[in-house]
């Protein structure tokens, strides 16, 4: 019984982390789907989202506002808006000017952008850890005499917010006009343009949506872990990228699935082996998938036209 409860606990932890990976991974996968490039500055957007959430929460708290719901909603909205503005700017500055050139050039440009954003946050906020208060302490406990499973309110919030964001995104992509235009662009950008679709705008929107979702993940993970520093974007970005590749880069359901699988794999490693091996397993998975199924779980193999 205890064995089972322990497993359940690790799965809950894994789903929590995994759903935030999925949120960040969507940004990678959408951008790749439309312009075929990996946005290596995306992890930094997540980091900026976390910082903005931290600033809004502590700022409002200092002004004496202590309504938890208000704090969370305000932090969510402001960090989504600021992160979106950064996503928009990254596309304009680092991607659009080099869109026609070789992939390597865009890659270097994105890495440069990533270094720039990291240091710009470091200058603004210092390089030391900042503490983010947990606005929703506590949770539920259930289980037997031996092991007790812990489900914190924060974990529930993470599930719920992630599910809502994913649902909203799925609806947007399948039903709205802009979502339709996004799909058209990911299939044939040149043709979409010649049918009157402003493809530059669609590309900008893709970066903006990805950034907004990364900011959601930033707020959630920031409150969950309780700390933020300018370097968190690197690892989170790599993990989310792994999740996107795992699920099949370019596929939105793939990013969701990849995030969850990665999160659970990490949590189980942490629970049964050692947390030291978490990253080993995560990137080991990346290597395996690239070796044996490079198009990912839900992706489609690219057929070279002859």
């Amino acid at each position: 019984m205890d064995e089972l409860l322990y497993f359940l606990q690790q799965t809950i932890n894994g789903l929590t982390i995994g759903s935030t990976y999925a949120l960040i991974a969507i940004g990678y996968t959408m951008v790749y789907g439309i312009i075929g490039m990996i946005n290596f500055a995306h992890g930094e957007i997540y980091m900026i989202g976390t910082y903005i959430a931290f600033i809004v929460i502590t700022g409002l708290a200092m002004m004496g506002i202590d309504n938890t719901l208000f704090l969370i909603v305000a932090a969510l909205l402001v960090s989504m808006i600021v992160a979106s503005a950064h996503g928009f700017a990254v596309e304009r500055v680092a991607y659009r000017p080099v869109r026609g050139s070789k992939r390597l050039i865009a890659l270097i440009s994105a890495i440069g952008m990533s270094i720039f954003l990291q240091n710009y946050m470091r200058l603004a906020q210092g390089s030391r850890d900042k503490a983010i208060p947990n606005l929703l302490p506590g949770g539920w406990e259930f289980g037997g005499e031996g092991f007790v499973v812990n489900l914190s309110y924060m974990q529930v919030i993470i599930f719920v917010v992630t599910l809502l964001s994913m649902g909203a995104l799925a609806l947007f992509i399948s039903r709205s006009r802009l979502g339709r235009a996004c799909r058209a662009c990911s299939q044939d950008r040149g043709m979409a343009n010649l049918l009157g679709i402003n493809t530059d705008l669609v590309i900008s929107m893709t970066f903006v949506i990805g950034a907004a979702l990364a900011a959601v993940a930033g707020l959630l993970l920031g409150m969950y872990y309780g700390v933020v520093n300018p370097y968190i974007g690197f690892l989170a970005g790599l993990k989310a990228f792994t999740a996107a590749v795992l699920g099949g880069i370019g596929s939105i359901p793939g990013a969701m699935l990849g995030g969850l699988i990665l999160g659970i794999a990490e949590a189980l490693t942490g629970g049964y082996l050692s947390s030291e091996y978490k990253d080993v397993v995560a990137f080991g998975l990346l290597i395996l998938i690239l070796l044996f199924r490079p198009w990912g779980i839900l992706g489609k193999p690219e057929v070279e036209k002859i």
Partner: protein
């Protein structure tokens, strides 16, 4: 410039590195005409199309549509001005449904209403309705209404070509540019295509610019024909004039 001129191309040239693919091509298309652009393989016909439709940026020359210069505009603005095209190969959004292909092509006016869309105003919903009705109307006309929710990539080849024309028509263009629409069609389908173009011209008043290798189709439906050879303009005139032109015969059949 005469009132009835819809498209006017002047001194159009396109250079790719050392290759001058199009050299000083000029042409006029008047309102309501069917004009064909013909020439041997590799003559530069498609390059001319690509320059006119904004797919390429011409090296030099002018493209005037309704009297306005187009050659510096991005493709989507040219499309919104009322000029749409097809490609030699089918370029449908294959993973979208048939009806979605027609909806997305009517995106043009949509993005200005982004905010209205979020608020679901009355005007927005009315426009959605119009967009849907227009899509259904054109599916009916090209005989694909029963396939509306099928994935476009699963249609038969001839159906895909018809869907492409429908997708152009829902944008309510003034000028329809077709790049080898009969390529790969069987004689029956080619005859249907012929009738469709004639009906579009008669019923919708659409102007058509056509690249085609099927000479019987070209001679049958064209009001005027331009011939290019090795990137240079060779001749232009009515189908009868072109058929009798010794230069054209030489270009197609080689010298005696």
């Amino acid at each position: 410039m005469a009132e009835s001129e819809l498209l006017s191309v002047r001194g159009l040239s396109m250079r790719f590195g050392g290759l001058l693919a199009v050299d000083q091509v000029s042409m006029e298309v008047r309102l309501g005409e069917v004009v064909s652009l013909i020439g041997p393989n590799g003559a530069g016909k498609t390059t001319v199309f690509n320059c006119i439709s904004g797919f390429y940026r011409p090296t030099s020359g002018e493209v005037l549509f309704k009297g306005r210069p187009m050659q510096r505009l991005p493709g989507f603005k040219i499309a919104r001005a009322g000029m749409v095209r097809t490609f030699q190969n089918v370029r449908l959004f294959k993973e979208m449904t048939v009806i979605e292909n027609l909806l997305v092509a009517q995106h043009m006016q949509a993005e200005r209403n982004l905010l209205k869309g979020l608020l679901l105003t009355k005007g927005y919903r009315r426009r959605e309705q119009e967009v849907m009705e227009r899509a259904a109307h054109w599916l009916e006309r090209v005989g694909l209404i029963d396939f509306a929710n099928r994935e476009a990539g699963n249609l038969a080849y001839g159906q895909q070509r018809r869907l492409e024309i429908a997708r152009c028509m829902v944008t309510q263009p003034r000028l329809l540019m077709l790049d080898e629409p009969a390529a790969g069609l069987n004689p029956n389908e080619t005859r249907d295509l012929n009738q469709m173009i004639v009906r579009l011209k008669q019923e919708e008043g659409i102007t058509v610019l056509l690249i085609e290798h099927d000479m019987s189709l070209v001679m049958d439906i064209s009001d005027r024909i331009y011939v290019v050879n090795q990137g240079k303009p060779l001749a232009d005139g009515t189908p009868e004039q072109i058929q009798r032109n010794p230069e054209v015969i030489k270009a197609y059949l080689g010298e005696e």
